[in-house]
């Protein structure tokens, strides 16, 4: 797999000035709305603690809860499937669809199906897949992956959407009025719900006690996808379990507040049993999750409820866009999830962070995201996955900084300071610093030299 180069990809995003400025401001607005929602709930921090504890409890008793969930779901008349990886998941979906002679599948947004690359898999086999979430549909029509796990097309301006729709849905390219564009989407998507032979959703939560899958949306498209066609399939990652309905309440209070700064999503839909004369299937997907559960330092990332709060607050994500991460999951959570799938391919991602820690403090389930980013850097170094330049620079810096004589020799002479300092203090070519920034003027003398002259021996 080709390595991702986040820094290079980010430069293209920043070059599109209007998009970058809008993107930064739009996501910052979400962060501020989140702050306001958090501030009006006195027990917000307590909720975060609870949510974290419930998830840690569930994950450390996962086998029991999964079995409880399966038994309940089966008792409700649902068929439960287990998929070890993406390939098995896609095969299960495909077999179900062919068994029911499905030609068109409507689906709501699901990061898990993105992770499994389900859509291209089905399309290659002649099944038409229609994304029904507005943002996700925009991305599908533009042949791009989602750039954000909650607002998939947030990197696009409305003019960009008008162009995509004009090209693919034959709309007016000069009309970028959001109402017009949404209405066009509605008009041109509705008939798929009626015609499709199958519908699919992901799942925000799966409740062991009830055997039900819970989907939170703002557009109601998941309800149409699940309820109109005769066959309904829900794909759920095994980490989405919560033990009881009472536990779910904690997460429902946190999810939309953290994600969009709204008290709750427009729809919180509980799917528990097939409709009369319909079929309901739930696919429980592992795809690397069990392996991560066994990683002492990194299993906490399984607590993630995919709210995107860490992305909204991340100053790097806001200025580089989700697509620059070259992965299904972008932003801080992506930085710690992706290397568990492919360390080499995503080796640059843990360095796409200033370790500022804002992500950790907005996370509704208290994942120590920035500490895990730091932890991944150590793992990468241990596995020789640091870029050559960085590793070489660190070796030199380590040698100089652990030897007082060498260190003094390197920095005490002013001329030498100009020559050597930026290189060994900044660890890279000067032009990376100086391209958009001035280089500090070296002083006449170091602190050390001043001290020797003014203090040493005078006291």
């Amino acid at each position: 797999m080709k390595k991702i180069h986040h820094a290079e990809a980010s430069s293209y995003f920043i070059e599109a000035k209007d998009n970058e400025a809008f993107h930064d401001q739009r996501l910052w607005d979400l962060r501020q709305k989140r702050d306001r929602e958090a501030a009006v709930i006195p027990e917000f921090q307590e909720l975060r603690n609870l949510a974290s504890q419930i998830k840690e409890h569930t994950l450390t008793h996962l086998a029991e809860y999964l079995e409880q969930f399966e038994a309940k779901a089966q008792a409700n008349g649902v068929t439960v499937h287990w998929a070890l990886d993406a390939a098995e998941h896609n095969r299960i979906v495909y077999d179900l669809l062919t068994d029911h002679s499905v030609r068109t599948l409507v689906k709501s947004k699901s990061m898990l199906t993105e992770e499994c690359e389900l859509r291209p898999f089905l399309e290659r086999r002649g099944i038409e897949v229609i994304e029904t979430d507005l943002g996700e549909r925009i991305q599908q029509l533009d042949n791009e992956p989602p750039s954000h796990i909650v607002v998939p097309a947030v990197h696009k301006l409305r003019g960009d959407v008008a162009k995509v729709f004009a090209r693919t849905l034959d709309t007016d390219p000069d009309n970028d009025d959001p109402n017009y564009l949404s209405e066009q989407m509605r008009v041109k998507t509705r008939h798929f719900f009626v015609d499709a032979e199958a519908g699919m959703t992901g799942g925000n939560f799966a409740v062991a006690e009830t055997g039900g899958v819970v989907v939170c949306t703002n557009e109601g498209n998941a309800d149409l996808s699940a309820n109109v066609p005769p066959l309904f399939i829900a794909s759920v990652g095994i980490e989405k379990l919560v033990p009881r309905l009472d536990d779910l309440a904690v997460f429902i209070r946190l999810l939309s507040r953290s994600a969009l700064g709204s008290p709750i999503t427009q729809y919180t839909s509980h799917f528990r049993a097939p409709r009369k004369s319909g079929e309901m299937h739930i696919i429980l997907v592992d795809n690397g999750r069990s392996e991560r559960l066994g990683m002492e330092e990194f299993w906490y990332s399984l607590k993630c409820i995919r709210c995107g709060a860490c992305m909204n607050t991340c100053p790097v994500y806001r200025r580089s866009g989700g697509l620059s991460y070259g992965a299904v999951y972008s932003g801080p959570i992506g930085i710690i999830l992706n290397p568990t799938h492919d360390m080499r391919k995503y080796s640059s991602l843990p360095f796409a962070s200033t370790l500022n820690g804002s992500c950790t403090h907005v996370c509704p389930v208290k994942i120590n995201i920035h500490e895990q980013i730091y932890g991944w850097r150590r793992v990468l170094a241990k596995h020789n996955q640091l870029p050559f330049v960085k590793k070489a620079a660190m070796k030199v810096a380590g040698k100089i900084l652990s030897d007082p004589q060498k260190y003094r020799k390197t920095i005490d002479v002013a001329d030498a300071a100009i020559e050597h300092l930026p290189r060994f203090l900044l660890y890279s070519r000067m032009n990376a610093w100086g391209r958009q920034r001035e280089v500090p003027a070296p002083p006449d003398q170091t602190f050390h030299a001043w001290y020797l002259k003014n203090r040493e021996g005078k006291q």
Binding site: H6, A7, S10, I14, E20, D24, D35, A38, P315, V316, R319, P350, F351, A352, T354, L355, N356, G357, S358, H361, V362, Y374, W376, R377, R378, V379, A381, K382, L386, K390, M394, A397, G398, L401, S402, D403, Y407, I411, L421, L425, L426, Y427, S428, A432, W433, Q436, R437, E438, V439, P440, P442, P443, Q445, T446, F447, A449, W450, Y451, R455, E456
Partner: protein, 247 residues
Amino acid sequence: MKAALFVPCFIDAFFPEVGIATLELLERLGVAVDYPLRQTCCGQPMANSGDQADAAAVEALFVENFKGYEYIVTPSGSCTHHVRDNFDAIPQTQEVQEVRSNTYELVEFLHDTLKVEDFPWAEFPHKVGIHNSCSSLRGLRHASMSELAEPEFSKPKALLSKVKGISFAELSRPDECCGFGGTFAVFEEPVSAKMGYDKVNDFKEAGAEYVVSADSSCMMHQQGCSERLGLGLKFIHIAQILNGANS
């Protein structure tokens, strides 16, 4: 009271005036200050790159220089954060643990340990914008974080408020990272510079004459951005203002 002064490598090399101000300020406050001459760096650059192997000897030297001191004071939030929270490339002996827990950043040392009531020699008739580095803000808890919706507090502001004539500029995004991030500044240059530009523009629009911080490294980056943009902002370390610098 006796304390050892740690002057981080980039302050030693680029901002000697910050080291001098810290030394003089501590002495004014009655602290007997030692400056161990064989000091270099805390190991943070290597460790933040994940490179524990090359951090180890630097951390060992740091302990060698500063062991036995009850107080090790440094005018750098990010170095303090490293020593206190991440300094584990070497075996965690009793000696190492003591050095780690005895290391203080200057602002917290003045605010929490010395509990300084006033700085009668300090006067700074300028409008300043405070930059809390992320290490200081979220690592050392210098100030309340907007993420937590907690009661507001700010140790650097509490100290600066005791300086005659000073006034404060309020930023639109006070807790936003400036994009320095150590090696991030060069390995992720496009985003780093954009974050820096946004940060210094925020200071400018807030009417700040000076940017003041407990971290010179962030300011080195911001100053580079401000100068490139021609904003005319001035940058000063909090130690200098508290020690009586007046411009």
